[in-house]
C-alpha cells in the first residue's frame, strides 16, 4: 500500500511539470530533425532520404528521455517517503518504545483536542442557520452591571429599533426560556418554549418541515391567534410524526393552541446552553409564556433580539446606529431607559452569561490539558533522547557513509513526526472519549436534561489536532536529533558505550524534573478539590440525599391568587401523609448558591457599627423547613403550623446575623425590621451557605412562606422540599403522581434530590476535581516511568565506570548511593518546585472552587505528592539495586 501511495504521490507532484518537459523535448526533437533534414537536402540528398537520415543521425529517442530522467534530482518528496519508510521500520523494531510514546502523545493530544472542541462549542460556534455569520445579537446594557449578562429589552424598545434601524436588514424578538406545560390527549409534560415574533422564522431562513409558520398578521392582535409551531423532535416523539398533528389542538400552560407547523429537523432554538426549545408561539400570546409582567409593555424587560446585518453593514456600523437609537429612547423614556444602551455582537456560542460562567473552568481545563501535553512531550522527548544515545553508532555510520548532518536530522525529525502523527490518530479516539465525559458536565441542565449545545467536532478542531501533533513532532524531535548528530564520529565508533554523556543526561534529567514538578502541582491541586467536593456534597450540615426538591408553579397555568395558595396547602397536606415522607415544607428558593433573594434589615436597638440598615439574604420557608433539611435549630424554634398567614409577624435569623447583631447571644425575643416591617425573632439556625475560600459568611433571614405579600399571583410558586426516609427512587415518581391527582394541568418540574442539585450546582468543582485527579494521575504515571527509565539507563550506561569503581575498592552500597543520590536530587527538586507552584499558583487559582478547605490546607496539598514521593523512591530503588548486585568482573569481562 505504501508503495502505491508513494507512486501516486510522485505522479501527482511531478505529472504537471513532467508533461511540460516531455512536450518540450518532443518539440525540440522535431525541430532538430527538420533542421538536420534541411542540411542533408542542401547537400543533395532526396527529400525522403534526408528525413530518414536525420532520424538515424539523431539516435535513440528513448535514450534521450532516459537521459532527461537521470538529469532530474531525487525530489524531496521521494526522500521524505524514504525517511518515512525508515521511521516506520524503526517503530516496528521497537514496539515497546513505540507503544509508550504513541500512548503518551495520544493522551496529551486527545485531551487537548477535546478541550478545544469544548471551547469551540461553548464560545465560537455560530447558529445552525443559513449565513449565520451575518446574524447578530443585540443585548441591553445597564450601567454598573456586567456586559456579559446579556440583559433583555422591553418589547416597545424592540419595535423602535426594528422600525428605525437601517444597518439591520431585519430584527426579531424572542423569549426562549419559557416554561410550558403541554397537555395532549396522551398526557402532560413540560417543555421549554419560545415566544417569538413572526419574522424570527424568515430572519433565520428556516423552512417548515411540515405545515407553516405564523405570519406577521397573526402576531399583531394580542390574544387573537393561539398558534403553535412544534420542534421536529417533539412532533416525532409525542405526535408520531403524523401530518394530522397539524391543525390539532394542544394545551399550553392551560390555554388551547392550534398546531400549525413543524420546525426543520435539528433546530432547537437560537439560545445555546439552555434547555432546547420545543414549542414556538407568537409574541401576541406573550401572557401564556411569561407571567411576571406584561411581555408587551414598557418596563417589562423580557425579549432578546436577533438581527441580520444588512448587505454591506458591519457590526460596528450596527453598533453606531443602535447607540443613537438607544440614546433617543433614553431621552424619550427617562423612567425606564435612562443610561441604558445596547450592545451588538455576533451570535456565537452559548448564552453569553453561561459563557461568562463557564470561561474560568474552561481556562482551567485548557491549562490542565496544556500541562499534560507538556508532560507528554517531555516524556517522549526523554524517550527519544535515550534512544538517540543508543543509536549513536547508527548515526555515526550514516554520517561516515556520507549523509549530511541535515539529512540525519531530517531523518530523526521525520521519525518523531511519524510518531506524533500516530499519536495524533490515537489521540482522536481519546478526544472522542474525553468529549463524552465533558458533555456530561457541560451539556446537562440542573434538572438533568440535555442542553442546546452542539458538541460535534468541526474542521477547525481537527485542524488544531493535526497542527498540534505536527508541532509536538518538532518539539519532541528537534532536541534529540541535534543532540544525536553532534556526536563526534570517532569516539562513538571506537567505544561501544560512550561516557556519561553529560549534556544529554542533564537535558533528560531536566525534563524529568519538569514532569515531576507538574505532576506534583496537579496532584496537590486535586487534593484540595477532593476535600472541597467532600465538603460541598455534605453541604452546610444537611443530608442532601434524603431531601427531594421539586418546583410547583400553579401561576403558570393561570391559577389566581387564593386558589394557588389553597392548592399549595393541599399538596403539602397530601404529601406529608405519604408513606416514606417525613416532612414537606415550601420555600421560595432552594438552599443553593445563586437563588437567594436579598433584602435590607434594620436593628432598631443596635448602636455603633451595625446601626442602620444592612444587606441580608432572605428566604421564604414553611413550617418544619429546617427539620426537612435536617439541620435543626440552634436556639428558639422554627416555623410550625401555628404561624399562619394571619399569625404574628416572626423571623428566623442565621448564626452570622445573630452574632453580628446580638453578640451577647440574646437574639430570640428581640425585634428586627425586615424590608421595612418589624418582626419578632423566634429562632436562630445554622448558616446554610456554601462558601468558597474567597467568600465570607453572609447574614440571612427566613420569613414565613404563608406570610408573603399576596399581590402577585406567582408568589405562591414554590420550591417544595420533601424529607424522605429510605431510597429516593420510588418517591421521585410517587410525589408527582400525588400532585397530579389534585390537578394534572399544574406542572410539576425539576423533581430531583437535593444531592443531585448540589452535584450539578458544583459541577465545576466536580469537574475540576476529576480533571486534576485525572491529569495529575496521568502526569504522575508518566513522570514515574520517565524517572525509572532514566535511572535504569544511567546505571546501564555507567556500568563500566561503576564496575571499575567496584574493582578499585568502592563498596556496593557506595555505588548504590551514587544512583540514589542522582535520583533523589531529581525528585527532590521536582517536588520542591511543584509544591511551591501548588502553594503560590494552583491553590490561589482554585480558591473560588474550594469549599470548606483552605488553599493552603497542608493535608490536601501533601497527600498526592507524598504518594508520588513514595512511588518515585521505588522507581529509584530498582536501578540502585541493580547497581548494588552488579558483578564487577562480569561487567568488565563482557566489554
Amino acid at each position: 500500500v505504501i508503495g502505491q501511495l508513494r507512486r501516486l504521490l510522485i505522479r501527482a507532484t511531478r505529472s504537471a511539470a513532467r508533461r511540460q518537459d516531455d512536450e518540450r523535448l518532443r518539440e525540440e526533437l522535431e525541430d532538430h530533425l527538420a533542421q538536420q533534414a534541411d542540411d542533408y537536402r542542401r547537400t543533395g540528398v532526396g527529400h525522403d532520404d534526408a528525413h530518414r537520415l536525420a532520424i538515424v543521425k539523431f539516435g535513440s529517442v528513448e535514450s534521450m528521455k532516459e537521459a532527461w530522467r537521470d538529469e532530474q534530482r531525487v525530489p524531496w518528496i521521494e526522500q521524505l517517503l524514504q525517511d518515512t519508510r525508515i521511521a516506520l521500520r524503526r517503530m516496528r523494531q521497537a514496539p515497546g518504545f513505540t507503544m509508550a510514546a504513541v500512548a503518551t502523545l495520544a493522551l496529551g493530544l486527545g485531551i487537548g483536542s477535546a478541550v478545544v472542541s469544548l471551547a469551540n462549542a461553548l464560545f465560537l460556534k455560530p447558529l445552525p442557520v443559513d449565513d449565520a455569520a451575518r446574524v447578530v445579537i443585540v443585548d441591553q446594557t445597564i450601567p454598573d452591571r456586567p456586559l456579559s449578562n446579556g440583559y433583555p429589552h422591553a418589547f416597545p424598545d424592540y419595535l423602535y429599533y426594528r422600525k428605525h434601524s437601517r444597518t439591520l436588514a431585519d430584527l426579531a424578538a424572542h423569549y426562549s426560556t419559557s416554561p410550558m406545560q403541554i397537555v395532549t390527549p396522551d398526557g402532560a409534560f413540560n417543555v421549554s418554549g419560545a415566544v417569538v415574533t413572526a419574522n424570527y422564522f424568515s430572519l433565520l431562513r428556516l423552512q417548515p418541515a411540515a405545515g407553516r409558520f405564523f405570519s406577521a398578521e397573526e402576531d399583531r392582535v394580542p390574544g387573537a391567534h393561539p398558534l403553535a409551531v412544534l420542534s421536529y423532535d417533539l412532533w416525532r416523539t409525542k405526535f408520531g410524526q403524523d401530518a394530522r398533528a397539524i391543525g390539532a389542538g394542544v394545551r399550553v400552560n392551560g390555554t388551547t393552541f392550534t398546531v400549525i407547523g413543524v420546525m426543520p429537523n435539528g433546530f432547537r432554538g437560537t439560545v445555546g446552553g439552555v434547555t432546547p426549545n420545543d414549542v414556538w408561539i407568537p409574541t401576541a400570546m406573550f401572557g401564556i409564556g411569561y407571567r411576571y409582567c406584561d411581555g408587551l409593555a414598557r418596563g417589562c424587560n423580557v425579549v432578546s433580539l436577533l438581527g441580520r446585518l444588512a448587505g454591506g453593514a458591519s457590526i460596528p456600523d450596527a453598533q453606531a446606529e443602535i447607540d443613537v437609537l438607544a440614546s433617543q429612547l433614553a431621552t424619550a423614556f427617562p423612567n425606564t431607559n435612562r443610561n441604558r444602551g445596547a450592545l451588538v455582537r455576533a451570535a456565537r456560542g452559548i448564552r453569553i452569561e453561561n459563557q461568562a460562567r463557564e470561561a474560568p473552568i474552561v481556562s482551567l481545563l485548557a491549562g490542565g490539558a496544556a500541562l499534560v501535553l507538556l508532560v507528554a512531550s517531555a516524556n517522549v522527548a526523554g524517550l527519544l533522547l535515550a534512544r538517540g544515545l543508543r543509536r549513536r553508532r547508527e548515526i555515526v555510520i550514516r554520517r561516515a557513509l556520507g549523509a549530511t548532518r541535515g539529512r540525519v536530522v531530517r531523518l530523526l525529525l521525520v521519525e518523531s513526526f511519524v510518531l506524533a502523527l500516530a499519536g495524533g490518530a490515537a489521540g482522536f479516539i481519546v478526544a472522542i472519549w474525553t468529549m463524552d465525559l465533558l458533555r456530561g458536565f457541560f451539556g446537562v441542565s440542573y434538572v438533568g436534561g440535555a442542553l442546546n449545545i452542539d458538541f460535534g467536532l468541526d474542521a477547525r478542531v481537527v485542524l488544531f489536532g493535526v497542527g498540534v501533533a505536527a508541532l509536538t513532532g518538532i518539539a519532541t524531535g528537534i532536541a534529540p536529533a541535534l543532540q544525536a548528530t553532534r556526536a563526534d564520529a570517532l569516539p562513538a565508533l571506537k567505544d561501544e558505550t560512550p561516557g556519561a554523556g553529560g549534556r544529554q543526561s542533564r537535558l533528560r534529567e531536566g525534563l524529568i524534573v519538569v514532569q515531576v514538578a507538574i505532576s506534583v502541582m496537579l496532584l496537590a491541586g486535586s487534593g484540595l478539590l477532593v476535600r472541597s467536593f467532600l465538603m460541598v456534597h455534605r453541604g452546610p450540615g444537611f443530608d442532601p440525599d434524603a431531601v427531594v426538591l421539586l418546583r410547583l408553579r400553579p401561576s403558570l397555568v393561570g391559577y389566581a391568587n387564593e386558589r394557588a395558595w389553597a392548592f399549595q396547602h393541599e399538596v403539602i397536606r397530601r404529601l406529608e401523609v405519604l408513606p416514606g415522607v417525613v416532612a414537606a415544607s415550601p420555600a421560595g428558593t432552594p438552599p443553593l448558591p445563586g437563588w437567594t433573594r436579598q433584602t435590607e434589615i434594620t436593628h432598631p436597638a443596635a448602636s455603633g457599627a451595625d446601626a442602620g440598615t444592612l444587606r441580608s439574604g432572605m428566604t421564604y420557608v414553611g413550617a418544619r423547613y429546617f427539620k426537612t433539611l435536617g439541620t435543626g435549630v440552634l436556639e428558639g424554634r422554627e416555623f410550625d403550623d401555628s404561624d399562619g398567614s394571619d399569625g404574628a409577624r416572626v423571623v428566623i435569623v442565621n448564626e452570622t446575623l445573630a452574632r453580628r447583631l446580638w453578640p451577647d447571644g440574646r437574639a430570640v425575643g428581640s425585634r428586627l425590621v425586615v424590608s421595612g416591617e418589624p418582626r419578632d425573632v423566634i429562632g436562630v439556625v445554622r448558616d446554610l451557605q456554601f462558601l468558597n475560600a474567597l467568600e465570607p459568611p453572609q447574614p440571612a433571614v427566613y420569613l414565613n412562606f404563608w406570610q408573603q405579600n399576596r399581590t402577585d399571583n406567582w408568589s405562591s410558586d414554590v420550591q417544595l422540599h420533601v424529607r424522605i426516609s429510605g431510597p429516593a427512587s420510588a418517591l421521585l415518581a410517587e410525589i408527582p403522581r400525588t400532585i397530579a391527582a389534585i390537578d394534572p394541568d399544574v406542572p410539576v418540574s425539576e423533581t430531583r434530590t437535593l444531592g443531585d442539585r448540589i452535584d450539578y450546582q458544583f459541577s465545576q468543582v466536580r469537574l475540576a476535581r476529576a480533571l486534576l485527579l485525572g491529569f495529575g494521575g496521568l502526569a504522575f504515571v508518566l513522570s514515574t516511568i520517565g524517572l525509572y527509565a532514566a535511572l535504569a539507563f544511567l546505571v546501564g550506561q555507567r556500568q563500566r565506570e561503576l564496575a571499575i569503581r567496584l574493582a578499585l575498592g568502592a563498596t556496593h552500597s557506595h555505588v548504590a548511593a551514587l544512583v540514589f543520590r542522582r535520583g533523589s536530587t531529581i525528585v527532590g527538586i521536582g517536588l520542591a518546585v511543584g509544591l511551591a507552584a501548588a502553594l503560590f499558583g494552583a491553590g490561589p487559582l482554585l480558591a473560588n472552587l474550594l469549599y470548606g478547605v483552605s488553599p493552603r490546607d497542608p493535608l490536601a496539598l501533601l497527600a498526592g505528592p507524598l504518594v508520588l514521593g513514595m512511588v518515585a523512591a521505588a522507581a529509584i530503588w530498582f536501578p540502585a539495586r541493580r547497581a548494588m548486585t552488579m558483578d564487577a568482573v562480569d561487567v568488565l569481562r563482557s566489554e
Binding site: E28, L29, Q35, G59, M64
Partner: protein
Amino acid sequence: VKKKMDVLQGTLALMVLKTLDVLGPLHGYGLARRIEQISGNRLALNPGTLYPLLLRLEHEGAIASERAASENNRKARYYRLTAAGRRQLQAETQDWRQTTALIDRFFAVKAEDL
C-alpha cells in the same frame, strides 16, 4: 577518419554556456553544430544528451529560451545566456583553469624535480 571523442561528463554544460556567451542566442540544432565546429569536429555530440541538458540548465536559470523564426523560416527555440548563467560560466571557467593547471603540474613532473 579521425576517431571522434565522447564529451567528457560535466564539460558539455560548460561548452554550451561558453558557446552561448560568445555567439549569442542559438537554437538547439545550431548550438550542436557550433560546438562540433569549435571542437574541430573532434566531438560527436549526441542530441539525446544535449536537449535534456538544455532543459536542465533552463530549470536552473542559467539560460532562457523562446521560440522564434529560424534563418530558413522554420520555427525554432532560441537559447540565450542569463545573468545567472554568465556568473556560473565565470565560476566554472575559473574552476576548470585551476584543475587543468594542477593536472599540468603533475604531467610536467620529472623524477629529478622531486
